[in-house]
């Protein structure tokens, strides 16, 4: 029972944070979908099913925080390239500040808990 509770909590945390990880990956320039999905999939403990990232990418498009263009690839099918919009940049900037505060507070509290 306890294990299940922490599992939902972690999956909710992941869901809340993932979209900003996508934005962060685009900070230094555009990337295409497969690159994004692999980068997130390879990060330890961040993504359990890579396929569900595609619906997330779709939502970010509709929210206007990313822009996309399809381009031919040298090999295989065309690729969809993603880049940050000004809205996306602002959202990422805001999240970085909030996340740093959040992480430091949680770390401090968890650290205290361990010491006791």
């Amino acid at each position: 029972m306890e294990a299940r509770i922490s599992e939902t909590a972690i999956s909710q945390l992941r869901r809340g944070v993932l979209e900003f990880c996508v934005l962060a990956l685009l900070r230094d320039g555009e990337r295409y979908s497969y690159e994004l999905v692999r980068a997130l999939g390879d990060a330890d403990g961040l993504v359990t099913t890579e396929g569900t990232l595609y619906p997330l990418l779709g939502r970010l498009r509709r929210e206007g925080v990313v822009d996309t263009t399809w381009r031919e690839s040298p090999s295989g099918p065309p690729r969809r390239y993603y880049r940050l919009t000004p809205d996306g940049q602002a959202a990422l900037g805001g999240f970085v500040i909030e996340w740093t505060r959040f992480r430091d507070s949680v770390d401090a509290l968890l650290g205290n808990g361990v010491l006791r």
């Binding site: 979908s33 497969y34 099913t49 595609y54 779709g58 295989g76 099918p77």
Partner: protein, 198 residues
């Protein structure tokens, strides 16, 4: 880009995804399938072993889970019916009893709402103008008129009238049917509007 260039297991996976996604809005289904197909053709070489293909598919997750993630969430759906819409439906149905004016207020709310299409709004307006109040008035006239006529024809008192009503039974039944239809029509419209706005 065709499924011929896909590994057989990848093609099978894509077919499963296509089936699972039948309930999605067509545009979103098409985009999602294009993205996943691109992923599959990039991640799995057509000549890869089944074990390699299965490893990639495992990482991708169940097609059903992907579709569930793509299904629009409640906050993404168009404006649901709110208090305004309920008030509009209520006034269209019962507003006629509030000096008829209530029905007109309902009409204004109906036409200013974004929850309904123009067709819905015309149905709400025309079936039946005035709502239940009109039904009751028209229905009472329909039932009452023949009785009265015959009463007058017999020139008279209470007993004559009862007999006359007995004789005019067929037209009374017709009156009751018309009355029932007139009452049911605006109620049906209300249910229809409530559902369309959901």
């Amino acid at each position: 880009m065709t499924t011929d260039t896909l590994h057989p297991l990848a093609a099978e996976y894509l077919a499963r995804l296509r089936r699972a996604g039948r309930g999605l809005p067509p545009g979103r289904r098409r985009e999602l399938l294009a993205e996943i197909e691109a992923h599959l053709s990039e991640a799995i070489d057509p000549s890869a072993s089944d074990a390699q293909a299965l490893t990639v598919l495992d990482k991708l997750g169940d097609p059903e889970a992907i579709i569930a993630a793509e299904t629009p969430r409640l906050d993404e759906l168009p404006a649901p019916r709110g208090t305004r819409e309920w008030v509009a439906i209520g006034l269209l149905l019962f507003g006629g009893f509030i000096f008829v004016l209530g029905w007109f207020v309902g009409l204004i709310l109906l036409w200013s709402s974004r929850a309904w299409t123009t067709r819905d709004k015309w149905i709400g307006t025309l079936v039946i103008p005035g709502g239940l109040a009109s039904s009751v008035v028209i229905g009472l006239i329909a039932i009452g008129a023949p009785t009265k006529k015959i009463c007058h024809a017999f020139n008279g008192g209470g007993q004559h009238c009862t007999n006359a009503a007995g004789q005019s039974t067929p037209s009374s039944i017709l009156g009751v049917v018309v009355f029932a239809l007139l009452v049911l029509a605006p109620i049906g419209t209300s249910i229809y509007l409530a559902r369309r706005a959901a």
